[in-house]
Amino acid sequence: MVEEIDVNNSDGSEPLPGPQHVPVGPNISAQYFELERQRIFRRVWLQIGRAEAVPNPGDFFVRRLEVLGTSVLVVRGRDGQLRAFHNLCRHRGNRLVNQPHGSARAFTCGFHGWTYDCEGALVGIPLESEFRGCDRAQLGLIPLALDVWEGFIFVHLQTSPETSLRKYLEPISGMLDGFPFAEMELSGWWGATLTANWKTFQDAFIEAYHVLAVHRRSIPDFRADPIVPSAQPLGRHCKLTYYQNLHHKPKPAEALAFKLGSAAFLNVNNTDQLPNRRWPSLNVENRDNWVFDEFVIFPNFHLFLGDGWMLCHEFWPIDVDHTNWQVKYYQRRTTSPAVRIAQEYSKVAMRDAIREDLSTIESTHAAQRSGVMAFMTLSPTLESLIVHHHNTVAGFVKGLDT
C-alpha cells in the first residue's frame, strides 16, 4: 500500500514548490551574452568603487570595463565633484590614462600631447594653430553618468539615464540610507579572472548551502539554525540573511581575535560591541546567531554587511566565458594595534574561505559548457535567490524590465 505523503508543512502553510529548473543555456551562449551586454550592462547603474578612494581634487582611478567595451576614468575635479569619462583622447582616440590610480593636475595624452583638466575640458593642443577652426569647447572628455549613494560610486553608460540611481536602488537605498559606511576602511582587496560565466561566478555567492561541503575544512562545525537562510527578493535586487553555529568553539588565535575586538565572519560572542546587528534592515529576525546580510545589487554588485566589517564583490563579465572579479574587505577604522591584530585574523580567515569558494566555479562552467546538461536543479528554499537572479537577468534580456 502506498502511504500518502503529506506535502504540506506541519504548520499548515502552503506546500513548498518543487525543485526549480534553471537552464544553463544563458550561461554558455555567446548570443545571450550579447543581449545581456546590450539590455543589462548598457542600461543600468553599475557600482565601481568607494568615494573615499578618491578624497582630494585630482585623485582618480581607472577601470577597464570589457562588458561596456570601454575604460572608465573616475576623477574628482577641483570643484570637489566626482565625474566619470571614457578614458580616451578626443584627438584620435588613444587611451588617455594608463596608471590604474593616482593624483593628477591634468591628463596629457601620450600620443600627441592633448591635455585635459580634472573636469574633463580640453585645455591644451600642441601646435594648436595647425588645427585652425577647431573648437576646444566641443572636444572635452566624453562623460558617463556618475552618481554616489552612501559613498558608493555608480556609473551609467547613458549620459542622462531615465532612472535616477536612488530609484534604481530601491528598496535597498531606503534600507541602508545613513548606514555608518564611513566608519569602515579598506583592509583587504583580492581579485581573480576566471574562465566562467559571470552568473555562474555569482551563484557561488548567493546561497549558504555550499558551506557544508565547500567550507568543510574552514567551517567544520557549521550548523546554522535555521539551516535555510532568510531570502528576500527585492524587485530586481535581493537580500540573504546568514546564520551560524553559536556553539562554535574558537581555536586560540580566533579566541584572541574575538577578545581583542574583531568580529570575524564566523563566531560572534561579544554582541555588546556590535551595533550593526541592530540596524533595522539587518538581522530583521533579530537572531543571536546572525552573522551577516548580503545585498545583491543588480546586476553585479554584492554587498555583505556584518558586525564591524563589510565585503564588496564586483563581478565584471569579459565575455560569455570569462569574468573578472574583485572583492574588497572593509573593517572598522581603528588606530589601535591590538584591534588591528584581531582584524588580521578575520581578514585572513575570510580570504582563505573565499579561495575555497573559488574552487568550484571554473569546473562548473566547463561542465555546463559541454552542453551535456540542459538545466540546473535548484532548491526552492536554499537556492531561491539564484533562481531570482537568473529570472531577473532573463526578464531584462526579454525586455520585460521597465
Binding site: W189, W190, S336, A338, I341, A342, D352, E356
Partner: protein, 113 residues
C-alpha cells in the same frame, strides 16, 4: 652592535622573539601569505608555538601606541603579530601551510595596499 642585530631589535620584553624577525616580520599581507605558503609545517609551528603564549602581552604592549605613530621596534613587533594571525589558519584550521582544495594561490591576486 651590528646592523643586522639592530634590524632585528624588538621591545626589550620580547627579545626572545627576535630570532623570528627576519623571516616573519613582514609589512604586507602579500608577503606574509607568501611566507606562510612557502614554509614547512615544522617552521610554521615553531613560529606559532613561540608566539602564542606572548600574543596577549604583545597586544597589551602595543596598546600604549597608536597605529599612526608606531616606533620602529613596535612596528616590527606588530608585523610579527600579523604573521602569527596569517599562520594561525594554517595551524588551527587547515593543518597544512596553504588552503587545501582551494583555487591555486597564484590565481588570487592580493591587491591590498
Amino acid at each position: 652592535m651590528s646592523a643586522t642585530q639592530q634590524d632585528n631589535e624588538l621591545p626589550e620584553r620580547f627579545r626572545t622573539l627576535s630570532q623570528f624577525v627576519s623571516a616573519w616580520s613582514l609589512p604586507t599581507e602579500q608577503e606574509r601569505n607568501r611566507k606562510r605558503r612557502s614554509s614547512s609545517m615544522e617552521e610554521i609551528r615553531r613560529f606559532y608555538n613561540a608566539m602564542l603564549p606572548e600574543m596577549a602581552a604583545i597586544a597589551e604592549h602595543l596598546s600604549a601606541f597608536s597605529l599612526d605613530d608606531l616606533p620602529e621596534k613596535e612596528r616590527r613587533l606588530l608585523n610579527l603579530a600579523l604573521s602569527f594571525m596569517e599562520v594561525a589558519l594554517a595551524v588551527e584550521v587547515y593543518s597544512t601551510p596553504d588552503v587545501p582544495g582551494a583555487i591555486e594561490a597564484e590565481r588570487l591576486a592580493i591587491l591590498t595596499r
